[in-house]
């Protein structure tokens, strides 16, 4: 069995582990590191529940090998809160009822967080385009868009 020792910086902290070649990044995060904020939805790169940021850009961690993240920066939903203070995107989802069952929420927030880094004042179309790879089965898109707009306004 092929194994590799990898070091991935997760939410700012370097994490080293010996992993199988075939271990998926999402399993590394959830099982090796025990951080279960990142969800597994469809497991086929459609739904976006497993979205994390890789060097600042959203990626679907169910369709990436842990070894591919060796030496790189990963941010998960656990990394949004800083010094016991919620990120504006988290606040937005809370204030605008951006979640119902909450399953898609970690992925939705990370995709939106990355969008707001690139585009401080996105239009509704730009928000909808950015989250088009994140599916909400409660279909709560109207409030998700409002949550992102709340965070954008808050960050002005």
């Amino acid at each position: 069995m092929a194994t590799h020792t990898i070091t991935v910086t997760v939410n700012g902290a370097p994490r080293t582990a010996e992993v199988e070649s075939r271990l998926l990044l999402v399993h590394f995060i959830r099982e090796t590191l025990g951080m279960t904020g990142t969800h597994i939805g469809c497991d086929t790169s459609h739904c976006g529940a497993c979205t994390v940021l890789l060097d600042g850009e959203p990626v679907k961690s169910c369709t990436m090998l842990a070894v591919q993240a060796d030496g790189r920066q990963v941010m998960t939903v656990e990394g949004l809160e800083k010094d016991a203070k919620l990120d504006p995107i988290q606040e937005g989802f809370m204030q605008e009822h951006g979640l119902q069952c909450g399953f898609c929420t970690p992925g939705m927030m990370l995709t939106s967080y990355a969008l707001l880094r690139r585009n401080k004042q996105p239009t509704e179309d730009e928000i909808r385009h950015a989250i088009s790879g994140n599916l909400c089965r409660c279909t709560g898109y109207v409030n998700i868009v409002k949550a992102v707009q709340y965070a954008a306004a808050k960050q002005q």
């Binding site: 998926l24 790169s45 976006g48 369709t63 090998l65 088009s132």
Partner: protein
């Protein structure tokens, strides 16, 4: 879903990667963005003994114009194409294409080279590259060779690349004045493969007739299809509605789709026809015609 076990290699240079592929032969598969290969390994449609990850090789990620040619490095992400000012201003057909490949998150990993090298007729770049008359640069143990894209797709998931070759660059001739191109795709939802898709690249003569037309079709048969009859028919013609409709009919005749959840053979043929006409109209508009 977890792939069957394999050995993972991450060579630091193209030369090392080629040496490795040469040694491992059919046992190995090249991993780029992994957006097609990893799902196939996960659902075990494919199984490999070795994965050679070219994602850590520097110098394969660029978009530049040089001597009348647009050069796209194989590892260029679809999201980079989407955000490139050069692509947005001068190659809208490539922007059309990048924008409908999977979804924005997948496009942060998916590469232009991988989209072609995977040899999947459902991928979107092949049709566009067929319409543009692109060439594929492949490097192997004996050096580099250039393959015209209309000789690149050999069968379902099979390309002209040898087991020890790596696709390194896509070359597209910079279109002359009075040229335009467009890609249109019918998809059930964001991220789906095409029910039908058509790419058209047109150059108009000074008198407004069609000097040259290139047409490529997505998911219309076991390989990406170049609608040669329709292309020939258009040359020298005035781009009026009757002419474009006839080109659409000829393009649909070249298809050989199979029925699946996206539709029947008849429906897919009809959609190939309709989308060929739409792509041609958009291309002609962008070329400055009617």
């Amino acid at each position: 879903m977890i792939p069957a076990t394999f050995d993972y290699h991450a060579p630091g240079s193209l030369a090392d990667a080629i040496t490795l592929l040469d040694k491992l032969g059919d046992e190995a598969k090249v991993l780029s963005g992994g957006m097609s290969l990893l799902p196939m390994l996960k659902i075990r449609l494919a199984q490999v003994a070795h994965l050679v990850d070219i994602g850590r090789i520097p110098g394969l990620d660029y978009i530049k114009e040089e001597g009348g040619t647009l050069k796209i490095g194989a590892a260029t992400k679809e999201s980079a194409l989407e955000r490139s000012d050069l692509i947005r201003s001068k190659y809208p057909i490539l922007l059309d294409t990048a924008l409908v490949i999977a979804d924005p998150i997948v496009r942060n990993r998916a590469t232009a080279g991988g989209n072609l090298a995977h040899g999947d007729p459902a991928n979107d770049h092949p049709a566009t590259m067929l319409a543009l008359g692109a060439s594929i640069v492949a490097r192997g143990p004996k050096g580099e060779r250039t393959i015209p894209v209309d000789q690149f797709f050999k069968g379902l998931f099979t390309t002209a690349l040898a087991a020890n070759e790596i696709l390194t660059e896509i070359r597209i001739p910079t279109p002359p004045a009075r040229s335009g191109g467009a890609y249109v795709k019918l998809e059930r939802k964001v991220g789906d493969f095409a029910t039908a898709g058509a790419a058209a690249q047109v150059t108009l003569a000074a008198n407004g007739t069609i000097e040259k037309a290139g047409i490529g079709l997505t998911n219309a048969g076991p390989t990406p299809i170049k609608a040669v009859e329709a292309e020939k028919f258009l040359a020298g013609k005035k781009p009026d509605d009757a002419t474009l409709q006839e080109a659409g009919r000829l393009a649909a005749k070249a298809t050989n789709p199979s029925a699946d959840r996206r539709g029947s053979v008849e429906y897919k043929r009809e959609m190939a026809r309709v989308h060929t006409v739409r792509a041609l109209k958009a291309a002609i508009r962008r070329a400055g015609g009617q």
